[in-house]
Amino acid sequence: MNEGTNLQGTPLPHQEETHLLRLTAQGDEASFARLYDLFSGLVYGVAMRVLRDASAAEDVVQDVFLQLWRNPEVFDSQRGRLAPWLAVITRNRALDRLRRRRPEVEWDGVLAPVDVSFAATADRNIMSQRIRSALSSIPLEQRAALEMAFFEGMTQAEIAERTQTPLGTVKSRVRAAVNAVGKALRP
């Protein structure tokens, strides 16, 4: 059993991902367990990054996976891969928890990310390294702006206020950082 992580796991073909989701929709617990083994590290990692609290992160992992169990059809596997979608969903849930409020973003409010080439050509491990490498190569203020927006849930106006930077500068920093990540996804 690949206990709770797929860091060293093999990449999951898109067809198998779709197959597991379909079986999960039919109530197959073994398929759901396989999805958990494949993606729990991702969900936990994002939740921990946002919340910085192991207990709260575990609750978010449980929430995200049980939502997936109850309603796996909300993710449209024809339009993309599960991993980035789960990352965004988890980030939103963790931020909701951080703000101690009811979930604001419904599951179907997040589009399935398009199937960019990394999904077909490289596993998540390699892709994660590429993302980290891309982030380390951009100016620190760009990276910080993106991380404040994504992991701390700050609006760009709030970032401008906190960093004492003009709003237009913050927007261009976030945009540049996202473009750098997007570029890293392409071969």
Partner: protein, 263 residues
Amino acid sequence: MNHLSQDELLAYALGESLPEAAAHLRSCEQCNAELASHYASLGALGMSEESAAPAHLRGRILGSLSREQTRPSQFARQSSSQSASQSTTPRRWSLIPSWIPTFAAALLLIAVGLLWRDDLAQRRRLHDELAQLQQPEVQADLLRRALAAPDAQQFSLLPASFHPVMQGKAIYRAQQQQVIFIGSHFAAAPAGKAYELWLLPSSGAAPIAAGVFQPDAAGNVSLVVPRLLAATDPKGFAITIEADSGSDKPTSAIILAGLKSQG
């Protein structure tokens, strides 16, 4: 049609409230495609944070599936739709063939069989749940939650001749950097003061603050620190009395200490 700017799309993808953008996205495929590419980048950013989930979490989540409302299987859905499409108009009793009573008896037997199967499935599920609860990592999780629960009551069992003294036990989980401290017979801290637990690194480095606490009215302490900020191998733990807001370093004498070799 005026499409959304990249900044608007990005702000929307990051969760900012933009009602006009939301309205536009309901009908614009082009902007939706660009939005999806931003989600892909943000999702990838999240994926770069991947780290192993605690082992006990798997049992907790998979164990809770049986408590979820059972979703109808595709087989069940197909069966129900087939039976609906195959239903016929009621027949008159005079035309009921003689095999009907036999058929009804067979149906009854099937129903009993199904009930027995449901009961068996339920018992299996309970058995699985119990087995799940007996797994060490699940038990550890239950223990941690029980210790942190506000309604938990603690009882210390000691020899009848024992004169109670302040004591405690610290449990450290290195991988999770998690500390659990259970104590008893603690006197109330002086006004404006609190007890502070310190991790003593085996390297000899300065003690690391591991939590500030006040005993309850009965002198009991249950402290759970989900994750220490610094990871280190401890040689032991110690307690001092500090300001009730906590201190970065010990400023008073150690009143309780335990080293690894002392168990």
